[in-house]
Assembly symmetry: C4
């Protein structure tokens, strides 16, 4: 079981590279085995070439390393907070992908300007407020997680599987690590299109609530009719 | 005959992928056999790798599946409305290609700023108005088609083989599905250049009517003199 | 001799494709044998794959076809005007490359914001004014050439080997067709950087005359000291 | 020893090409052997294909060629000034990479809008003022170096391993030529993201001093905890 989790996590990390979301080693993906409470995560700062499933580090929800010769991603503490706060999720991805990072740097939610966005995110993708100096100086990565969780009060993390950490970059998640990586790719495209939508029309309006609801339910949920399965792509 | 239509439709779908117009499965192409009244269309939400002509779904103009094991594209109803309203066309393409989608999200026609545009589109590429909540909630895809057809009152669909659906993305068409795919590629380039033309010069003027007429007739129609055939590229 | 000219012209056309300056068949390159007064030019509207030197069309300076089974580029008449007006040049290239075309569509000279530009173009790259309806309706391609020549009154075409035809796209030239293609590639980069320079700083200043002079003479002319030859890259 | 320095310098030059930072021959990298006071640098204006370590030119800190059949990069004098002024550095890279050059052309420091930036550069990346006509006309390349050194009064070159030369392009450096090339790649990404951050939010704020300090010390210095080594990536 951990063998297949390790493979999924490695594969998700490689998907980020193939899709151009990662420069050098700027990104990490993890997946969780909820029954055992174990997480597989990319090691810190190592190149992606020739990585093997056995290089993934296995840690508990408390952050203690259970297996692995390499140090885990330095963003591990953020992943852990997300797994604890969002029990529905099975995978977490963090990248510095260009356009999602641009919105994070601008400290701005990404408005939902179209159906490409609405197919994945039920409304504007939220940005956190900046961390305080205190939050940065002590347990920085954990506090990043706490800032995300605070921002998601009242938001269902599976209807909104992404966040922009102000002055930093995006995190995405999903039922599996593969789905978190897929969402990271779509978020990058959506972020890029939103930026240029405002360049064409600085007063562009977000799509209507009716459109928003239509698209999220077209692809996801019980009444989904996109794709070959009854329950859509998910 | 349907064998060759299936192949053309598959090939057009693959051309969209090769030209970078498609992320994951966000796009679909169809072609029609006007004599038999049968349409071949991409199945919904399936990856493009290893697709075979036999995977294309055959439907009638009423939308009933005639042949095929897979569910047709969820945008089928929009294609059908276009085939019924525009009897001159033989193929329809829908993508979420980045820059055409940006103009659709901005809800803005693409002005004709140059000859690259004028070689294919006889004037500004029109955007539809947004759909109402009613139109979205019932028969959304068919209503998308109706909104396009209303917007094209008084416009010849072969002189203007593209539309931007507000808050959504473009559709293109042509005498064949190959030509609809080719037009989708050119539309993307034209949309990209128009956006940045406004960045250089917010007051950029569309080209003159004389230039517009010159270029459309240089490539298309009886007096065409571009390319190796008497009738131009078409 | 024409064999090698044909090969150079084909190679220049392929270089435009390899460098991403050409979508489908939107571009053409030609070279001239000044002694014989013969020009080799790409045929009109044909794909680049599997092109052979023998496909290049040979025409005289009067535009009459001397050799070749295919119709020459529809922009031939513009090339001819340039060869007649600028006796120093040995090759002409026309593309719809994205960023140079954007400046042409904006109807705006490209200011010289840096040394990348100054290494090739001694000042702002000039845009022509738009053609009149009369000029468009009769001998459009020749009149495009005349508009360029008028714009270059008092400008040395080898110090400024490029022009933007308003509402259309760029032409470049040089001592050889290879050099005209190289310049087209650099023009595209320079056009792209200039556009975004204005985005960072709407009041960005062109570089000083001293800098302009320094760079053009560093790479070109008798005192050049860039590269391995006494006379620089040219 | 020089054999391995030549190889490192060649490899850094090739890395710039692989990462898309170099058009034609617009860039150069050098490395220094501090014990012997010898520098290996790319030859001027030669293509990168089929380059061998033996093509690198060996010069002393006085600029005299010690070994090599080819003329050294025309920017050698700038490299020499940097090696003399910054004794901590082991390699220098110069490119005309698109987005860093855009900021240089705009004459503008790159504000630190996020952690991708802060991981490498401890604050805004500085731009020099323009050179005077005198500085350009005599010993232009050396004066470029002097302008950089003047701009760095009070700045630690290893905490800020990059500069934008106004109206020209960036230089980067580091403990080794490999690290200087790596920094050039990251600078390009950071420059690109900063430009678009301002497009989303013209009033975007740089990150806080606490964040700036956190990230530079997370990756670099004695307390670094990113990557697999005790001392981070450096």
């Amino acid at each position: 079981m951990l063998a297949s989790l390790r493979e999924e996590v490695l594969e998700a990390n490689l998907e980020l590279v193939r899709r151009g979301l990662v420069l050098y080693t700027f990104g990490n993906a993890s997946g969780i085995d909820r029954e055992r409470g174990l997480i597989a995560i990319k090691p810190s700062g190592v190149p992606y070439e020739n990585r093997k499933p056995s290089d993934m580090v296995i840690v508990g929800l408390d952050g203690c390393i259970q297996e692995g010769r390499l140090r885990p991603s330095s963003d591990l503490a953020t992943h852990l907070i997300l797994y604890r706060a969002f029990p529905q999720i099975g995978g977490v991805v963090h990248t510095h992908s260009r356009y999602a990072t641009i919105w994070a740097q601008a400290g701005s939610d990404i408005p939902c300007f179209g159906t490409t966005h609405a197919d994945y995110f039920h409304g504007a993708v939220p940005a956190t407020p900046p961390l305080s100096a205190d939050e940065i100086e002590t347990e920085y990565e954990a506090n990043t997680g706490h800032a995300i969780v605070r921002r998601f009060q009242g938001i269902d993390p599976l209807s909104m599987p992404a966040v922009l950490v102000a002055g930093h970059a995006p995190f995405t998640w999903g039922e599996s690590v593969a789905s978190a990586a897929h969402t990271a790719v779509v978020l990058e495209e959506v972020a890029r299109m939103a930026l240029h939508t405002l360049a064409v029309n600085a007063n562009a309006s977000p799509i209507s609530q009716a459109m928003l609801d239509k698209h999220i339910y077209r692809k996801h949920g019980r009444a989904a009719y996109y794709g070959q399965d009854k329950k859509g792509e998910s």
